[in-house]
Symmetry: C2
């Protein structure tokens, strides 16, 4: 079994043994992911490639960077982490992404798309500056290959003059099937024989940027991969190379092969089930609104399904756009459509919205355009760890002038906010996590910047909370306080921007705490504290402390990083005295 395999012993194997190793790796990946959740089909597709890389190259002396990181499980299993692999994505366990902290064999952390070629170039340039001599390899899927970073890195390959190997792992899929002309070009290359390629096209795109192109090879065939990698290893001494391989996403597991999108990410079976997902509410409501309002269009960067937009895309294909993993372009597209009188909805995960920060400021907000950004997976997102937590959005969005930020307390309030958005003629963000676990009984009318008192309290303490999770914590705190004879007021801060100054000005409680599913710095609490500080009102902010938040389940992470209900209750009791 692979537990005893390492790079050295692997190099002594024959093809048959290597194929057996691949089967073992695949089995371990499937069984682990089925228990712990994780990225299944992309990891299954990259097993042979990983084994071939370990056969031909010398890690960790040579460096391999897995773009996004959804292809790194086999690499982890072959580099001393097999015995701990059942802790995959668990708190304190093996990460689902490459992590320098975890192993010398993980040379660069990834998580967001398109960074691997830039990183490989930086490493190769550092190598050349230091006068050292090793190989640097970026493995990138055709989905990530759409991202503008690829072009930026390609464009500086010649000026930087440092040799790298880029392996395009072409499985025809982002999370959804890959869109765009670069993918179409890859398809053309795939359908050409090597000979035909060289005859028909004197200089191809990749050659223009300074790469030698090697392709197309069967990326699930070890016997085909090893000799071409050996040949490329020689070529790398004098030039940069692109190796284009075709792999089958979900390879070796029939259910995955047939359902690559559905099995891209598998959830942890132990997660508390959602009552409904906010994304589904978005998709359904947006369809309803779009029936009545011809201006409504929807845009996604390669995540139609996960964002709940599939019904919209099916019903209104001409008013839908999936632009591939191009968050910046998606943002500008929305701004421009709004400039021409349409009403665009851009749905995106909180962590990926970080990519569009400049375009939100310049293209949407400085032009005061009525784009609605639906920010999904906001707050801690769980097992994906540091690179996927959506805990910065309130902080980076709130300094932007002209932008309103709404946070629903439940799925019904998301619907109400979407109703509100249609009438609202300015930039708007609505942020929510994945799972909705409760539906409140009452829902007051949404008005810009108006908060809602959910529970009146006895006048001693007030909790201002934003979003379902924070409000749920507020109720937990309230239950803990009840035994001590304290009933706090609970306020639903439905808008983080603008804050409800009227309600704050009228607040009579002496003990006020804020709770948010966001870092403490620069979020809801910070906005309230900044406002109240001019009057000397005491405010205590509860949010995530100033640290990168690792993997774990949502409840664990909320407890561990600053939102433990008993801590909040303890603070309030202590202040009441």
């Amino acid at each position: 079994m692979f537990e005893n395999i390492n790079s050295d012993s692997l190099k002594a194997m024959g093809i048959k043994e290597l194929n057996g190793l691949c089967e073992d790796l695949r089995g371990k990946i499937i069984s682990t992911v089925m228990t712990n959740g994780g990225h299944l089909s992309s990891n299954l597709g990259a097993v042979e490639l990983t084994v071939a890389l370990h056969y031909v190259f010398d890690f960790p002396r040579d460096k391999v960077i897995f773009d996004v990181g959804h292809q790194c499980y086999a690499h982890k299993l072959l580099t001393g982490r097999a015995d701990k692999f059942d802790t995959l994505r668990k708190k304190g366990g093996i990460s689902g992404f490459p992590k320098r902290e975890e192993s010398l064999y993980d040379c660069y952390n990834t998580g967001h798309a398109g960074t691997s070629i830039s990183a490989a170039l930086g490493m190769a340039k550092a190598r050349d500056i230091k006068g050292e001599d090793y190989n640097v390899i970026a493995v990138i899927g055709d989905g990530s290959f759409n991202n503008g970073l690829v072009y930026e890195a390609f464009n500086s390959l010649k000026p930087l003059n440092s040799n790298i190997l880029v392996i395009i792992n072409d499985n025809g899929m982002s999370i959804a099937p890959t869109v765009g002309s670069m993918h179409e070009y890859l398809e053309i290359l795939s359908n050409d024989s090597e000979e035909k390629y060289h005859k028909n096209r004197r200089v191809g795109i990749f050659e223009r940027f300074g790469f030698k192109y090697e392709g197309v090879y069967d990326g699930n065939n070890i016997g085909e991969l090893i000799p071409v990698l050996q040949k490329i290893k020689e070529e790398l001494k004098t030039q940069s190379v692109i190796l284009h391989i075709l792999t089958k996403k979900g390879k070796g597991y029939a259910f995955c092969e047939e359902n690559p999108e559905a099995t891209h990410g598998i959830s942890d079976g132990n997660a508390i089930p959602a009552r409904i997902e906010y994304s589904d509410v978005l998709g359904k409501k947006l369809c309803e609104l779009a029936e009545k309002d011809q201006r409504i269009v929807a845009v996604t960067a390669a995540m139609t399904g996960s964002l709940g937009l599939s019904p919209f895309f099916e019903k209104f294909p001409s008013r839908s756009a999936d632009v591939g993993i191009c968050e910046e372009h998606a943002t500008i597209l929305c701004a421009a459509m709004a400039a021409e009188g349409l009403k665009p909805y851009y749905a995106v995960y909180s962590t990926f919205l970080q990519r569009s920060f400049d375009e939100i400021i310049i293209d949407i907000c400085s032009q005061h355009l009525p784009v609605t950004i639906c920010v999904d997976r906001a707050g801690v997102s769980g097992a994906d760890g540091e690179t996927h937590q959506g805990v910065f959005d309130l902080s980076f969005l709130s300094p932007i002038p002209d932008l309103a930020i709404a946070v629903p307390k439940d799925a019904k309030e998301l619907e109400n906010m979407l109703d509100f958005s249609v009438t609202f003629n300015f930039p708007l963000v609505i942020r929510y996590p994945r799972a909705c676990r409760r539906i409140f009984k009452s829902h007051s009318k949404i008005e810009l910047g108006k908060w809602e008192v959910l529970s009146c309290g006895d006048g001693k303490a007030a909790i201002i909370a934003s979003g379902e999770r924070a409000i749920t914590r507020a109720y937990e705190v309230s239950r803990l306080l009840k035994d001590k004879g304290v009933t706090p007021k609970i306020i639903n801060a439905r808008f983080v921007k603008p804050i409800d100054k009227t309600m704050l000005d009228g607040m009579e409680e002496n003990v006020v705490v804020t709770i948010e599913d966001n870092v403490c710095t620069g979020g809801l609490g910070s906005l309230i504290a900044s406002y109240m500080s001019a009057s000397g009102k005491k405010i205590k902010i509860f949010g995530y402390r100033d640290e990168f938040i690792g993997q774990g389940n949502v409840e664990e992470l909320m407890d561990d990083y600053g939102l433990k209900a008993s801590d909040i209750a303890g603070y309030i009791l202590n202040e009441i005295g």
Copy 2:
């Protein structure tokens, strides 16, 4: 003269008259920019193109988007703004960039590179959704053409299926000469005759993405431009087109033609002169440090000269990288070089740093890599207006874990901070404006998170200020207060992150104000207020209010948007009572 010319009367002119018009426009642009400052050479290069566009197309029905906007002056002069053109870049005057608020002929605001093709696609898609029928044109320079957004937009041209015209205005320059393979490719195309192009290359890069390529034409020759634009106008009915033209940056003004980089941006002759520019201090000091420390490398995204890096690039060419206008790629390149043991310095304007937000979080900080980001043009930047103010950086950087943020009080303190940076093994930002106007007498040792008391005061009030401009305001406030018998303590908040909690805890003054050259929301004051709010200490934050800041000179903008010394002094006096 062109004051009486509009799109209609221009269409009635012959070539000779049009050439005369170009001369007139050129004269007006030169005389205005020489007085008001502005972007000279790129605007001069685009005069014939602009006139030809107005001859062939029907604005504002047809739409033209100028990438970055450094080519829009002639367009402004031809669209009803000639009589106000002497207010260019002045407070309340004509903007140096396209502005929807200013004219119907400006359909989309630009300012940051690479957005025009995405925006054109969004507009064209909106047009098709609405069932309307007009032309959408993006004019983009070869410098912007390096940006990843271009690739993202290209990649979705076929899926979006909406026809646009992209005009590549190829003058071989970004601000500095354009680097990279895409520019090399443009050069190859430029040197081919059209015939040769079609014979040699069955399908070129642009055709792969779905464009018909038309090139190369002389972009300073009206007689050549008009017929090709007329032909393209017909072609646009059925397909998207790229028109590749060659222009001369600075055309028609010998000094500009010979010095295109130096005359890219001309400063307002009335601006208060700097004692020294912070960028020059950076370049000089970095050379000094790099002599002793082989790990030091410097990276820029196409702004070597403006950032003061020219001496470094000349002295250490192999340890320097200009990656073109690719801020994201530059950031990752630095992270990767740091991962391999180097000590990278990435210099960038504050407003363009917004482009790298995600990479600062994921690539630099979540990996705890010792990259130093030197943030130039921080704070209000003046006459360029909304798209160029560097007033958000403290807010978007401070929520990022593991990042330290230093702000020098003068040029000497920048040197000290650079000394500090060499020994500091974590991510670090140093932010400063363009001009240094004073050098303080004393400079205490830089220690992480330690502030400096500049003036002790009489115990009644304290001013916490960050950076030269804010500290200068603090001294002005102090002078105003002196007549009233109040001497405030003045604190140099040299680190915005971490803040100096020891100093804050020991603060005995009852009246405390903060001053920063940044928006109020989420910056220094917000960090202090959030910290102090837990103890109920009253803090008043002075920074820019929550609005986009238009053009004007630095002092005007500071006064107008929230940092008027008399307001701050008035607040303090009122509080002291």
